[in-house]
Symmetry: C2
Subunit: 253 residues, 2 copies
């Protein structure tokens, strides 16, 4: 069994090594992750710049090998499967992300970018995230769930072209997991304005996630607030096929 | 009427100025685009670095104003609506991209990243692309279609949370437009290996798009090959809600 482990926080983030430690003992594990943090990189790819692979002997342990790439999470998945791995993996896991990828955060997430990419390449995948941004986040409560979900997926298989976006609440007992949709949500008040020493303005990203359906028990944000883990099946196909008749009316086809 | 015009090829790409020229004469047009090319940036956001806004008087003309930002297409949309525009726009158009965003290319596209972001913020949007990567691409054949689709959307409105991904064939007469889904597709043979002067390997992205359903007339790639423009309704919500029962079985919820 061959498993690819990646993330968007970079190879030095503790979350990815916790994730590798949850994989089955009879698997060959390849950690292939960005050499530096790439949060918010979505499905971005490096188009023109050279990509280089670095082996990390310091993270080798038993059947775990480790490599970093000077690129995005999607670059890591593509180049790992093309060049580094000895064959097609049976599973790709991404994370454990330091911070939430629930609600509409999935669209910006490099962790889910990696998982969605793997799905497109025909390999089943799971993105895991913990709702704590800090580098010393406590993963202990979620690790048994990570193990169990991984075992379930390996033994039963995922439907084609669907990956899982799994989020866990932080710093609390987890009551269980719920399979739901992503809550309709968006970010607001997104920039703080500053003035630099030469008098020019600049802006830094900030903001709050607004949950547009806080009372909907069919959504991830609802259950995360109630100390449950959430599992959202996610697709890389963004076609809104159900709207085709409406759009035909609008453009007069 | 207020219209935001953006792209991922950057403010100096001809396509964005062709696009601005297609907007209605009674609209105030704000071009807000990356200061350098950002192809393949998907929905990436700049998380930690300062964003700066530069006004471009050289592109001002009539009711058109122009600005660039040292960030991604999604940064441009967010910061434009937050800081630059005098109010919420009635429409955002992105493009005209130099190159295809059909099939699964949408997931990597900064042009569509911008359009999907605008949709999330409650503003209707359209991404336009021409299947010619060159900077001296000939846009003349597609411009009447860009104008007509923009007029149709402004007069009839799009459904909420759906934007349009519009692609045009290049260097040919266009036979019309078809409203369809994105063709199931993926990239293959994606890296070329090189050796640098000091003997270390590096890799550059290359590869071919494989259409997994070439005979399906319900898809964009089918019609683009037959000299039609394609219009794919696209959603930022990646939840595969229809798979929830299957995933519940797999994880035993």
């Amino acid at each position: 069994m061959l498993i690819l482990v990646t993330n968007d926080d970079g190879i030095y983030a503790p979350g990815i090594h916790h994730l590798a430690s949850c994989m089955p003992e009879n698997a060959d594990i390849y950690i292939v992750a960005p050499e530096s943090p790439h949060s918010g990189q979505s499905s971005a790819i490096t188009v023109k710049n050279p990509l280089r692979i670095t082996e990390h002997k310091e993270f080798e342990k038993g059947r775990i090998k480790a490599f970093s790439i000077n690129g995005t999470p999607v670059d890591c998945v593509k180049l790992a499967i093309h060049t580094i791995l000895p064959g097609n993996p049976d599973l790709c896991v991404a994370g454990i992300n330091h911070g939430s990828n629930a609600g509409n955060s999935i669209i910006y997430s490099g962790t889910l970018g990696a998982a969605l990419e793997t799905t497109t390449l025909g390999v089943q995948s799971i993105g895991f995230s913990l709702l704590d941004h800090s580098m010393d986040a406590d993963f202990s409560e979620c690790l048994p769930y990570v193990k169990q979900i991984t075992e379930d997926v390996l033994s039963k298989g995922l439907p084609p072209r669907v990956c899982l976006n799994v989020n866990f609440p932080a710093n609390c007992k987890i009551n269980g997991v719920k399979v739901v949709s992503a809550a309709k949500s968006h970010w607001t008040d997104e920039y703080k304005e500053y003035v630099d020493p030469s008098g020019h303005k600049f802006y830094l990203l900030t903001g709050d996630l607004v949950n547009e359906e806080p009372e909907n028990p069919g959504t991830d944000l609802y259950w995360l607030e109630r100390q449950y883990g959430s599992i959202v099946p996610a697709t890389p196909d963004q076609s809104a096929t159900w709207e085709i008749p409406t759009i035909r009316d609008i453009v007069g086809e």
